[in-house]
């Protein structure tokens, strides 16, 4: 009996080896490294990235766009820790099958790993790192997210064109909030508008009435909010309670289903931007939402879409770099040449000089408790 079992195991092994040999004889594998926090504090984001990337690669392999080549995804867990990020970067760099890397989640880890990739000349594409210095590390760094330097002036123009000549600005007191407020203010002043107040609130603030009273005194035409959805919804509720009627313009950080739940009717009328609109009726976006939901039980949010596009941009670059013959250098050049990539987060191009992404933002308004696209 024992012997029979052993025989069976041996047979299976032989079969497997034969199979995989056969496969590799006609099929070449090209790998993409994906580093993201799959455990720890930011695990919810890493998990979403893994879902989206797996979905994109499976679709790609099935599509037969590269006959004879299988794309393989190699995931490593960076735990949102810069030290881990560097270790993974070394590991990925040593893996000859990897022609490009996607990740990491936040700017700190992405930049730490980026130092390694810059030396080992591996193209790195982060789906979310928005720190201004990230793409300045070397010509191997790319990102698939707009920075505030792009979004701020765009919202400023939107507000100005809608008739607001005086705005009050409120933003969270951290690096992101300061750059959101700073870029908006700069953009708005450049258009000839005036900024009545620029108020920063400490993270964790629950009471915005003092700031609202201050804003009420200076009577702006509109209010710009650079905050995340939890603070944003508290602000919106208290704004309604205090009787301020000014329209609110906000960054894409408020594009979150939770905002509608938390703020309720107070969210109605808010103008905001987003690169990804889950309610969109465009066929490729609707298909992504449908496939994602079918596979992972839950609608994709902005971050899922960002990772899905990053993976597809990388896949496109691999195709452009020659598929089976792709090298890291060729993939980098192909990435840099990305132009008008039609993704679910809008059309994306990389600026040839700065490698900064140029993504078209959709304009949204909350109407009757729903995000609605507006012109």
């Amino acid at each position: 009996m024992m012997r029979f079992k052993q025989c069976k195991t041996l047979l299976t092994t032989v079969c497997l080896v034969a199979l995989s040999c056969g496969a590799s004889a006609q099929n070449k594998t090209v790998a993409i490294g994906y580093q993201a926090p799959l455990s720890g504090e930011n695990a919810q984001y890493g998990t979403v990235f893994r879902n989206s990337a797996t979905l994109a690669v499976d679709e790609f392999n099935k599509s037969g766009r590269l006959p004879g080549v299988t794309i393989q995804l190699k995931f490593e867990d960076s735990k949102s820790d810069a030290k881990e990020g560097v270790n993974i970067a070394r590991k990925f760099s040593d893996d000859a099958s990897i022609v490009g890397v996607i990740g990491d989640f936040n700017s700190t880890v992405s930049m730490a790993a980026g130092q390694v990739y810059a030396q080992t000349k591996v193209p790195q594409l982060s789906q979310t790192a928005s720190h201004p210095d990230y793409v300045k590390i070397s010509e191997y760094q790319f990102r698939n997210i707009n920075t505030q330097a792009y979004e701020g002036p765009l919202i400023a123009k939107w507000a100005f064109d809608s008739g607001a000549k005086k705005v009050a600005v409120i933003a969270i007191q951290n690096d992101w909030g300061q750059s959101a407020a700073g870029n908006f203010v700069q953009g708005f002043k450049a258009l000839g508008g005036t900024v009545t107040d620029t108020e920063f609130f400490n993270p964790g603030t629950r009471d915005f009435r003092s700031i609202l009273t201050k804003m009420a005194r200076s009577q702006p035409d509109a209010i710009f909010v650079g905050a995340f959805y939890e603070d944003g919804s508290a602000f919106l509720q208290q704004k309604v309670q205090m009787g301020l009627k000014q329209p609110v313009f906000a960054t894409s950080s408020l594009y979150e289903k939770k905002l509608l739940e938390l703020a309720g009717p107070a969210a109605n009328g808010v103008y905001l931007t987003s690169t990804f609109v889950v309610e969109s009726t465009e066929p490729h976006v609707a298909a992504f939402v449908k496939n994602y939901e079918a596979r992972y039980n839950g609608k994709p949010q902005q971050f899922a879409a960002q990772a899905y596009d990053a993976t597809n941009i990388m896949l496109n670059a691999i195709v452009a770099a020659g598929g089976a013959n792709a090298t890291r250098a060729k993939v980098r050049d192909a990435l840099a040449a990305t132009k008008d990539f039609p993704g679910v987060t809008g059309t994306t191009s990389f600026d040839p000089a700065t490698r900064e992404p140029i993504k078209l933002l959709s304009k949204l308004q909350v109407q009757d408790g729903k995000f609605v696209s507006v012109k």
């Binding site: 108020e199 009435r209 003092s210 201050k214 005194r217 939890e230 508290a234 309670q241």
Partner: protein, 304 residues
């Protein structure tokens, strides 16, 4: 000259201060009796808010019933907290242990431990995000009085703090439980010698203090539209500052100082920026401690 915006800022400040005061009342009561900071008070506050929220989402009762639910959970939390974090350190009866600083610090740390465990558990169960609150329960309905805008929650918080403060004073001065609480606060060993059941008194203190904390958590959560596991931390720090400024064991003093802190924050926001609000609040604390080392309303020996 009558500046309506400045008056509105004073209203804002008053309502911020009242939130700190609501929390400081229970906090100071417990400190007064045991002379130990109860770091888990913020979590009792959170438990009250979550218990109320669960009642709202499961049963949707009238607000009065929701408050009763929070009250019940607060009492239970206070009882459990005393059992887990405080009682084990009172099993040594000799005079040296009673006066030992190490035992006091151990109690302080055990309450901190309970606070962290409870908060993390809540984050595991409910997630660290803010919970969605059904709109009709939010205490944010605008009420306009002349040019000033109020929310219905502000009146409720104002009424609640008066009821709590008044009720507690009456309880402490006119009931048996209250008298024993004051006796134990004044001299625990003396109280024991004259036949007061100190253990039971301490439990009663925790139950009363935590009930007040839980109701405060619920009302403030509904007023701010923010119920989440770490919600007790920020007001807890301010309540602690108010308690220290007020002289550690004076409940009225803590309330007055909480109002000063709230006003200071609102007025600082008005003239400088919101980011400076905390700095001014802590500056007040430092000034108080330099010029009144026993707090503004401390002084005497009598506690509670």
């Amino acid at each position: 000259m009558f500046d309506v915006f400045f008056v509105q800022q004073l209203v804002n400040g008053l309502s911020i201060g009242l939130i700190y005061a609501l929390m400081a009342i229970g906090f100071t009561l417990i400190f007064g009796v045991l002379n130990v900071v109860n770091f888990a008070h913020g979590e009792v506050y959170m438990i009250g808010a979550f218990a109320g929220l669960l009642a709202i989402t499961q049963l949707a009762p009238p607000l009065f019933a929701v408050i009763l639910v929070a009250l019940a959970f607060g009492a239970l939390a206070g009882f459990g907290l005393e059992r887990i974090a405080f009682r084990p350190f009172r099993r040594f009866r000799d005079e040296a242990s009673l006066k030992s600083k190490a035992i006091r610090e151990a109690t302080l740390l055990s309450s901190l431990a309970v606070s962290i465990i409870v908060r993390e558990l809540a984050e595991k169960i409910f997630g660290s995000n803010m919970q969605s609150i059904p709109q009709e329960y939010l205490l944010l309905k605008p009420i306009e009085i002349g040019p000033l805008s109020f929310a219905n929650g502000q009146f409720l918080i104002f009424g609640l703090s008066i009821v709590m403060l008044g009720g507690l004073q009456w309880l402490l001065k006119h009931t048996r439980v209250g008298l024993s609480i004051r006796a134990v606060a004044n001299n625990p060993m003396g109280a024991a010698y004259v036949g007061i059941n100190t253990e039971r008194t301490i439990i009663a203190t925790f139950v009363i203090g935590s009930t007040l904390g839980a109701i405060a958590g619920l009302i403030v959560g509904l007023y701010q539209g923010a119920i989440f596991p770490a919600m007790g931390f920020a007001p807890g720090v301010k309540a602690f500052v108010a308690m220290v400024m007020g002289g550690l064991s004076s409940i009225g003093g803590a309330v007055v100082c909480a109002l000063i802190l709230g006003m200071a924050e609102a007025i600082t926001t008005s003239f400088f920026a919101q980011g400076w609000g905390d700095l001014v609040a802590y500056l007040f604390l430092v000034i108080t401690l330099v010029f009144f080392p026993t707090g503004l309303f401390g002084g005497g020996r009598e506690r509670v």
